[in-house]
């Protein structure tokens, strides 16, 4: 298990956003994390990525309890993430953005840039390397977000709704890209709203609602789970 | 022991006037989320307006209020509308636009030096001033009457602003804009108009402070600078944006300035004030009383 979450709980001023959540991600696969809006996916994500210290519970990354460690330390340990609302360094070029990421593992600029270029080539962003990231289309910004995270050489990559707001054809491209990344040996935890993509990509899916896990299993299992349908479409939908 | 009480009373009175001077600054910050570096200069302009209102019309210094407050309100309103608003519009997605700070500093330079150009560097003091030197004797203790009036003005203004914000439709609109500009505009509130209003009111409050000061204080082009940094310190002590906090912060500064010199050289009180200021910034940035401002 590359990541093991045990009894994770996070409260904000009495409000329990994550409630005793446990899950395991085996190395090398893609795990989907889904749930309706406001279910607590991003909070769980932020706890794992070190933005929030958990109120209770433990998070093991490669066997080490990382609960409460800072994001930059986690990044150096091989845990990278993207943001749901992309946060490019907008006044800088694409190459610059990715180089910031590759500096996580190298000291010299020439080395870092070389690695950034490799990542850009890998993700088919190479021809846009000199564009200001603020001028990219949303699809390219999402791709840049992934490229930057990938440049830190992660073992586990947390992707937060990287397909939201994309057109269907673009979604397909990103799906392909994620597969490619997985095939290069990076484990992926995916939060996504676009079910088609989740279903196509994930080896396993965890569904949460109100901070609690309500279902887990292979995509098809989960999609058929009445609990899940209820959570998504309202409780009366199941009957119809 | 008695003299400490006498000093403390003086400190509270003088401090309340500082608080009054800072009240407008905190109001403007509360709504616009911007530190108005021109606030001291607006106080200075108010003092000139008060001075001339009294000198030219022969009004009782406190009656000048009826002239100074509307004039300063309009001055502040137009200043925000004409000079500052365009910057807000250009940077409407920035929560605390630094450019606005710089622009208010430009306004400070312009106002101070324009006053120097127009009125010269002289120190002015109301000549026919029925309040000058009036002291209230409380046993052995002496209390300055104009400062007492100033204290009254500070408390009343604070109360009036509080009630205005709590009880009137415009006040609620100002509070709503301060808390969530976009949601307020969804309720039909024009945020820029509210900014103008808040700036106008903040400036008018500086006018009240000027009227309180002019009977016992000098008027000169750089007088605002003396109050400027004091006002910043006060609003941070009281909590940026907190109405009651401005008064309390002012009183704390007044007390330090008044009581501490009895134990050390007066020049060290400044250092104490800065020390306290930094302490509050680090330990309790929401202000000494840590009150989240609801107003």
């Amino acid at each position: 298990m590359i990541l093991k979450v045990e009894g994770l709980t996070k409260e904000f001023g009495g409000l329990r956003a994550i409630d005793n959540l446990s899950m395991e991600i085996p190395a090398g696969g893609i795990m989907g994390l889904i749930g309706p809006n406001g279910a607590g996916k991003s909070t769980a994500f932020n706890c794992i990525a070190g933005v929030y210290a958990p109120t209770a519970g433990r998070i093991f990354f490669n066997g080490e309890n990382i609960g409460g460690q800072k994001p930059w330390d986690l990044c150096k340990k091989g845990l990278a993430r993207t943001f749901q609302i992309v946060k490019p360094f907008a006044s800088k070029t694409v190459l610059y953005n990715v180089t910031v990421g590759s500096f996580a593992t190298c000291e010299r600029r020439s080395e870092a840039e070389a690695k950034a270029l490799e990542v850009l080539k890998f993700l088919n962003l190479h021809d846009k390397k000199d564009m200001l990231s603020g001028n990219l289309t949303i699809a390219d910004r999402k791709r840049l977000e992934i490229a930057r995270a990938l440049a830190t050489e992660p073992k586990l990559l947390l992707l937060d709704e990287v397909m939201a707001g994309l057109r269907p054809s673009e979604v397909d491209e990103v799906v392909e890209m994620i597969r490619k990344i997985r095939d290069s040996g990076v484990t992926i935890l995916l939060i996504e709203h676009i079910m088609r993509a989740i279903m196509a990509l994930s080896d396993r899916v965890v569904v949460i609602q109100f901070g609690k896990k309500i279902s887990e299993g292979e995509p098809a299992e989960v999609a058929a789970d009445p609990n899940v349908i209820k959570a998504y479409l309202g409780d009366e939908y199941v009957a119809s | 022991m008695l003299y400490i009480i006498e000093d403390a009373i003086n400190g509270i009175l003088m401090g309340s006037i500082y608080g009054l001077a800072a009240l407008g600054l905190t109001l403007i910050f509360g709504v616009l989320k911007v530190i108005n570096f021109a606030h001291g200069s607006l106080l200075m302009v108010s003092m000139y307006v008060a001075y001339w209102a009294v000198t030219l019309t022969g009004l009782h210094p406190y009656i000048a209020l009826v002239l100074v407050v509307p004039v300063m309100f309009i001055f502040g309103y137009l200043l925000q509308d004409i000079v500052i608003k365009p910057i807000f519009k250009a940077e409407k997605n920035v929560r605390e636009p630094i450019t606005v700070i710089i622009v208010t500093t430009g306004v400070w330079y312009i106002l101070d030096n324009l006053t120097l150009l127009i009125f010269g560097p002289q120190y002015r003091n109301l000549e026919a001033n029925p309040l000058r030197g009036k002291m209230l004797e409380l046993g052995e203790m002496l209390i300055s009457v104009p400062k007492l009036w100033g204290f009254g003005a500070a408390v009343l203004t604070t109360l009036a602003i509080h009630l205005f914000l709590q009880r009137t439709a415009t006040g609620r609109a100002i509070r709503a804009t301060s808390l969530d500009r976009e949601a307020a505009s969804l309720m039909g509130i024009n945020a820029y108009k509210i900014y103008n209003l808040a700036f106008g009111i903040g400036t008018a409050i500086a006018g009240v402070a000027a009227v309180a000061l002019v009977p016992f204080y000098n008027v000169f082009p750089t007088v605002g600078v003396l109050f400027d940094i004091k006002c910043f310190i006060i609003v941070v002590l009281g909590g940026l944006g907190s109405i009651g906090g401005a008064l309390l912060g002012g009183i704390i500064i007044g007390l330090i300035e008044s009581v501490a010199p009895q134990f050390m050289a007066a020049t060290w009180t400044e250092a104490i004030v800065y020390g306290l200021f930094l302490l509050v910034l680090f330990v309790k940035p929401s202000g000494i009383f840590g009150v989240k401002h609801d107003w």
């Binding site: 933005v51 870092a112 | 450019t99 430009g106």
Partner: protein, 334 residues
């Protein structure tokens, strides 16, 4: 000439001109103004490491300037230590103070940070004004320290003419420009820019943003202190109100904002514009319209902030590019 050669030649030509300027400009006044332009460009470039790259607004750099000025002056007056050495000592002390100030303040946001830095600088001024002697060191309180103009010479960093000062500050400026442009291309520069622009994203990419800022602060305060020593040796007199002047702190920030925060040339452009404007308008209006120069200064601040809120560096760069196009007859490669 091709555009590329031109692009390489122009800066060299500029450097050559600047180096030869004292040969053409014999007037010490204009040299002095140029010295001040370079001094402020130097100060603003140093400030830019924090205020530009790291994306905060420090308004108290006079604290480091004053520390530099006082340290070297005290060491040279009381211990006969060359200001060149004193400069470095002052720099180290300022860097330590910068770290101490930076650690707590970088956690603050916007207005609070600006106010805290003002309070630090003013606090230093008040302290120096109130302290006559600090252990073995005579600060002389409000009376300040005067350097008797007796031992002219390079070792004493004291000269009877302006030219040596001109070259010293020019070298300092070029060095600091090279240093910042080196930093902006190094890991630290990437980290500062990233942390300034999108702190959350930066943290997720392995950047300890607070630590990067503190490092930048240490460098910035070190460099600022060096200028303090230069200033003391240029004027041969320092006192708390001038060495720890709030106006100085503000002016540095203004130059950066007018020129263009966070860019390498921005501070130089800002200083090149604001310094002469304020000096010349003081010269021309000083006796007839007192205060006019500050009014002009204020108007420029407002106009630039209204119409070019990101500073003049962007439009001027465009203009420069167009000039290059015109001169070479080539279009800029996209």
């Amino acid at each position: 000439m091709t555009r590329n050669t031109l692009q390489r030649l122009l800066p060299l030509a500029l450097l050559a001109t600047v180096l030869c300027l004292p040969l053409a400009v014999r007037s010490a006044t204009y040299l002095h103004i140029m010295i001040l332009v370079y001094l402020y460009a130097y100060l603003t470039t140093s400030w830019n490491l924090v205020g530009g790259f790291a994306g905060v607004l420090p308004l108290g750099h006079a604290a480091f300037f004053g520390i530099g000025a006082y340290t070297s002056t005290i060491l040279s007056l009381q211990y006969g230590i060359s200001p060149w050495l004193g400069m470095l000592v002052g720099g180290v002390i300022a860097a330590a103070v910068g770290v101490l100030i930076g650690l707590p303040t970088f956690k603050m946001r916007g207005a609070y940070f600006a106010l805290a830095t003002i309070a630090f600088a003013e606090g230093f001024r008040v302290m120096v004004e109130n302290i006559d002697k600090l252990g073995p060191f005579a600060l002389n309180g409000p009376r300040g320290l005067q350097i008797p103009p007796l031992n002219f010479g390079l070792a004493e960093m004291m000269f009877s003419g302006k030219e040596p000062y001109y070259y010293i500050i020019l070298i300092m400026l070029v060095a600091v420009l090279l240093l910042t442009s080196f930093i902006s291309r190094s890991k630290l520069g990437y980290y500062l820019n990233a942390g300034g622009e999108e702190p959350e994203a930066a943290m997720a990419l392995g950047i300890n943003v607070a630590r990067a800022k503190v490092i930048a602060m240490a460098m910035s305060s070190f460099l600022t202190a060096l200028a303090g020593t230069f200033y003391a040796q240029l004027n041969l007199y320092i006192h708390p109100k001038s060495a720890f002047s709030l106006d100085l702190s503000f002016e540095i920030a203004f130059i950066a904002l007018i020129g263009g925060r966070g860019s390498i040339v921005g501070p130089v452009l800002g200083a090149l514009l604001l310094r002469p404007v304020s000096d010349f308008s003081r010269i021309y209006f000083g006796d007839t319209l007192p205060g006019m120069h500050l009014i002009i200064f204020g108007v420029i601040l407002i106009l630039v902030m209204t119409f070019q809120p990101r500073g003049l560096q962007e439009p001027l760069t465009r203009l420069y590019e167009r000039l290059l196009d015109r001169l070479s007859g080539e279009r800029r490669a996209a």
